[in-house]
Symmetry: D3
Subunit: 333 residues, 6 copies
């Protein structure tokens, strides 16, 4: 598994970080976070285009692509304070879901098995099955809790006659035992899917799903407090899966199955930062960015910032930062 | 008035519900809600395109067009728990406002007179004159209150030398006696129109208009509480008219006269659901969706969801649901 | 400096107000506010296009271009209650930053020196250096405080080997003494720029920068309260500089360096109105609107409304209005 | 009928020419060509938006809006060699076709009756009924031949129950006697409309319609030769009506009813120039430019150039130019 | 294989023709042409989106969706003179290429085996493998020649480790013996793919490929003459495969792998009509229309017209029309 | 002048060729062609955005970015048969035209002085002044002829008070003596600029400008024949400057000053290939690609292909290819 570059378009790394080869276990072990691209849109049930997600997330930033990003509020530079490298894309031939899924799982496991955090850039949400499985293979089945931002539960059984579309990975993960249903936290659900049978199955697995009505009524902070408590109960680490469609289509139009009424981008960025600052995150994926439906790159920019907030939170956690969100930016005032 | 299909583009129904013929009074009477398309943009004072609104609202949904939409939070399936059918579009020849207005009023009356709720898909806001008149003809002039979401008061007198543009329907409805000014609730007004004379006329009619500054200062919930009390005072039913431009242009760019500083799509969806759950709604229209100015269908998707939230609220009201917005989605957690 | 019209495209004025000639000092003195276009995008570090900002801000409004805009909530008509005129654009040849900067400073000084408020339509943010310098030349170096809405601090030292890009005007203004660092209020900062050295410089100047995390934690209202107190402490007037990218890209996609996680357009409009109503504003600029990246003109419309809210606030302040944001729009209810 | 400005958006004239008032008969008589805007899309059977056509055609040009356009090949400056003025738009309230049609006919007649050439900027093609009628009223019914560029014959009888949509003006013109069927030359027809009955009616009127298959087989030049001969046979003048959809959608996407397989923009420009250079043109309209469907203003730019080629041809005819298309641009080589 | 409707979006048929069920062999046999949708983009090597091709090609037409399209030049109405019905889409789950390919082959064979012409709407070009195989299964391996419009030869061997992408179907068809290499006519090739090895293989199969340089030098008509002769030499029928990217990106931007320098849309339409008029066409597919990359639906409209020209040619051939392209549209002139 | 990477966005090379450092004279001398990016839009008189041209031209290709491009018609692989390397961008700070111009001239001279062909990716057309000057400095002032594809003559004197915008480079080149006016060949001019004075100056310099009317009347081939003869008369080499706006806006919408009625993309590609195959080309630039105004990357793709046709022509000339455009692609047929 030598470095593949990007499957589509020119080859470059996430904001200019160093490339890494997935066969170079030493380099993987020396890193804090390894970027992995999963350019797969063969699992989407509607608008495709997420195959161009890794490219867009890596490259959409008006700042210099120089491997440095000092975080204003946290005062850490995730890309300097951490060792972040980019393994390029996994080859995922459109139309070949089984082969592609296995290749991705192998790549993510190559990273996770070195004790390094994989940050996987999707691709559609079906990639979370291999992503989280690979992390659980290393840390132990049932030892990793999941925090899952999404408009959709993604717990479907069979769609278009297949077990492996982007609406089903969460069910597969629980069925296989990789993740526990009662440590599965979902944030931002809304709309008209899934139906009663699936919801019953979710309840039977003791999943905890925060639908938007509850989030509006109780506040996102209170919901996250509750989620954090569950996530840390008899689990060793957290997998964070961010479907960009958790945000309102006004903030993230470039996605495949946009559901109106979601979080603002500010809410998502604050939540992701807090999770990575307060919890032991062992794996991350950012999915469902579909550039053909984006406008002026605003969805790609948001996903890029989700990655940077996550990295900055991890860096701040590493250095033991005690951050007061209400404090002033500059000292002395 | 046999079923016409869609005036523009291919013929299909709202998310795949059964078609109905407006001459089939038995079928109309058997339904809970009848969809009616009003593909009219001859009343707009600026950007046209709402003629394609009915088509866009009917068809914009990434889920299967199968006549089923289980509501996550309410746990009703409006399209199964209610009998929802689609009468297609009314023929409204561009450039022929008088003939078009009459045809629409007849169609809506055909539905309302059977005791069935018409859900009219605009079209520009001038269609609310025939829509609400038809409902009032059935329930009695002055017996129907109005809840009107909009950036604009739509109470102009004469525009471009005409009485019947999209900025004037509310005045015509009050002048004719169809609706009472003192049971006219407006939510979301803002900007720089209309001027003092019109505002004086509105005050003289005892209209209650919640401008965005008041909504921000007091909270949307408190404003709706006040509005609900007025709406139910000596009236038998409510007409709900939703101009999509009540939302901020960031959430609803695809419209003719976008006014910055509006509601979020989440706020609108929550409000519409609450109205239909708590009040006896007898007619609805959803207007001013202009697909040529939309991006990635986000405005059309929002309008589709406004319809579904309304239908779900009606369904929940029908089954006597007691909904706690702060409760968890899944039982047992 | 006779009136130049618009540098790009057809010639028209802001919403149809009267044109004015910059050499006609009598007319400048008789005005309350003079619009000046600064069609300059030679300072941007990324996406260009703000050269078309003045044209877009002047002309984007679905209402008649008739020089009247009655404000719904404040019940003033800024364009009638004030004398607002438009001096057209300053000629700013792309590629000639020094000549362009000087020409703009001269034009703004021509207005400010008559005791009239210049409202400058950018252009990229590098124009604030000449804009605010010109106002300070008239009112006294160090006598004007700054309220600066932006995602970015714009306090960089050297970029691309130049002192004068759009990321540096605030540093130049403080260095020259035109503005005091300890009366420099920044609202809406976020993201990953600038780095520690620049932040240290900012702190050393006693700047007060409200980053978004603080704004979310404390509320925008509380932050503005604090800012207002500083702004009025031993200063005679306020310069208001609004970079449209202070808003979230979902609300303002048409800009050069969009940073996710910003204010909503509602928050910005409310803040601008409040500033102009409560503080003695002596100069304004609205910058970084880039029409090529806009969609359905929503960013241009927002910037147009920022201008109108500012003008309406100034008008309300002039007539001594006592405004209660929580009050009803119409009397008698 | 004092000058109205533009019905939509800011007020400016065609490339900066002087404005004229339609009541100022002396000024109309002194002009060679008067621009008239017809912002009407109430006649379109599909995509609207041509109401913004006049604004787009007037203003879309990257050159200075200075009332000068020296033609490279012809070496005339139409806007200097001719007296061209702009009467602004006729008020044409959307939804009011009868009133609008009459107002436009009156305006065009005001120009034509002074012996001046009206150049009408549409608007949809239904405006050609009043445009050509007005010219014929002045020069005599049956004395004006028509050269009509279009993908569609526009000879429909009744559409959507109306006689006056954009698919019918040519029939109405022949029925009324304003124009003779046997002096009606159509260029560029193609596609699947109208059906046999209408084609039979057209044949019965002895119309001469050049379908694209014939144009490809014989060459556009040969077809124009034939058309010119008919046009000048017992007629005193020519009306030129250019529907931008005569061009291929690749060259003119911004239109309401795009039909693939049309002329290139080069072919249209060359033909229009030749017509105005070789024939006594007494009236012109340029229609069906729909900015909401345009991209990067290419359709608006094309329509602007159609106007300039027509004006340049008229100017060259006026000065008696003898132009050799195969000659070099610069003398001496 | 009961009728499936459309896999994505609402259900409607090609321009409103009657639906048909693939299990209803009697109905298939009674038809002249059966439309089949192949909403598959799992084979594309670059920009996806062709899954929405069938929906776009069926529905993009500004004329009434009424099952009638009288051809102006040919004076036939393909949809009346032929029996055209629509079988809906084949279910082709994204990510499952093998299952999808088989399902499509079965569906096309169901049509072809009744002696009826399948007109398959893609989808990416990988669908031509099942399409043409199914037709050859009925008429005999080696008995059907191929006329293939494309910028690309599509004769690759292995791509992304797979035999079945959109760049390889033509090789698979020849390898399997379904089609003969020496009866394989390619029109419109250009660019920088494939390389020498593949070209050598193509030459070894005696394929006849008309690259654009040759087409420009000799004329498209002459090339088609030569192609027709080969096509009819010891073959019984022709399969026509039209990749929309044979046209220049200016005429067909909405596609996955646009190669500049192609045919104009006029050239393609004329060629398709001529083929279906002069040759015994037994199967057709129209592929690579990708709506997310289209603008103002011009690519979808072109593909719709390719279908209509093909159908009109078949109808004209059926009625024995003798068509003179240089003749006038209307009799008597 | 160490390699700078790309000034905007991520760093990658033209289709994946090797990078080169401009200080590495040995490497420059060893190359046949060196790519240089000139991301400058400070010279444009209207729509900016060409600063993103180099990035777009380097990266827009659906094929693998693998440094190989076998030319179908010529059967050479320019990127293998030639040594092509990429020096990255020259830093050209927006707003600093003098410094930027000098930096670019130095960079191009660094290449040309090694006897290597510079291929400069613009940027607006003002870059041709330093580009061609640098080549002439090496080969001798007056020893290099120019073939210049453009809608505009670019021979203006002073624009916006400056000598150095994108409408003036050709005048500066002749004035300085770098190029001879009587060896200056312009192809594709059209429209309404420049005026008589400038045309007189051009004639006085004995320039040979082929306006589109002449090209249509005589054929592009005949015009090129004439141009080639002049180009080779007492000159040692040719500079080829391609402004993408020489093509019709339908084929190249993504540009700053689109002039309708231009060449098709096929015509441009054929002409560029022929020039590089038949003439001793010593320098090339491809300019005026403005990605913000592009759609579906069709303009960027065209410019990428202009580069590849030029490179392929140079490669074919190097190997002494004798190419017959009318011959078949594959041998044996």
């Amino acid at each position: 598994m030598t470095r593949y570059g990007q499957q589509f378009g020119p080859d470059f790394t996430f904001l200019g970080v160093d490339p890494v080869d997935l066969e170079d276990t030493e380099a993987l072990a020396a890193a804090d976070v390894v970027i992995v691209g999963a350019p797969w849109d063969g699992g989407t049930s509607h608008r495709p285009g997420t195959r161009f997600g890794p490219q867009a997330i890596r490259g959409t930033d008006y700042l210099g692509h120089d491997g440095s990003r000092p975080h204003l509020a946290l005062r850490v530079d995730a890309m300097q304070d951490l060792r972040v490298v980019d393994a390029g894309d996994v080859e995922m031939p459109p139309g070949e879901q089984e082969r592609s899924r296995q290749a991705l799982e192998d790549a993510v496991y190559a990273v996770a098995s070195q004790g390094t955090v994989p940050l996987v850039l999707g691709g559609d949400h079906s990639i979370t099955l291999p992503d989280a499985t690979a992390v659980a293979r290393h840390l132990g089945f049932g030892r990793v809790s999941m925090i899952h931002f999404d408009a959709h539960a993604d717990t479907g059984h069979i769609e278009f006659g297949s077990l492996y579309g982007h609406g089903q990975p969460m069910r597969r993960l629980i069925e296989s035992g990789a993740l526990r249903g009662d440590r599965f936290l979902q944030v931002g659900l809304r709309g008209y899917w899934p139906g009663p049978e699936t919801l019953d199955w979710m309840a039977s697995q003791s999943m905890r799903s925060f639908e938007m009505t509850e989030i509006v009524a109780r506040g996102l902070g209170a919901c996250l407090d509750e989620a954090f408590e569950i996530a840390l109960d008899d689990c060793d680490a957290v997998f964070l899966s961010v479907d960009i469609d958790v945000c309102d289509p006004g903030h993230a139009p470039g996605t495949g199955t946009p559901e109106p009424g979601g979080l603002s981008s500010r809410e998502l960025l604050d939540a992701v930062r807090r999770i990575c600052l307060e919890l032991p995150v062992a794996g991350i994926d950012v999915v469902e960015v579909s550039p053909p439906y984006d406008h002026a790159d605003i969805t790609a920019a948001l996903a890029n910032r989700v990655c940077l907030e996550a990295l900055s939170g991890i860096a701040a956690r590493k250095v033991g930062l005690d951050h007061d969100p209400a404090g002033p930016l500059l000292e002395g005032r």
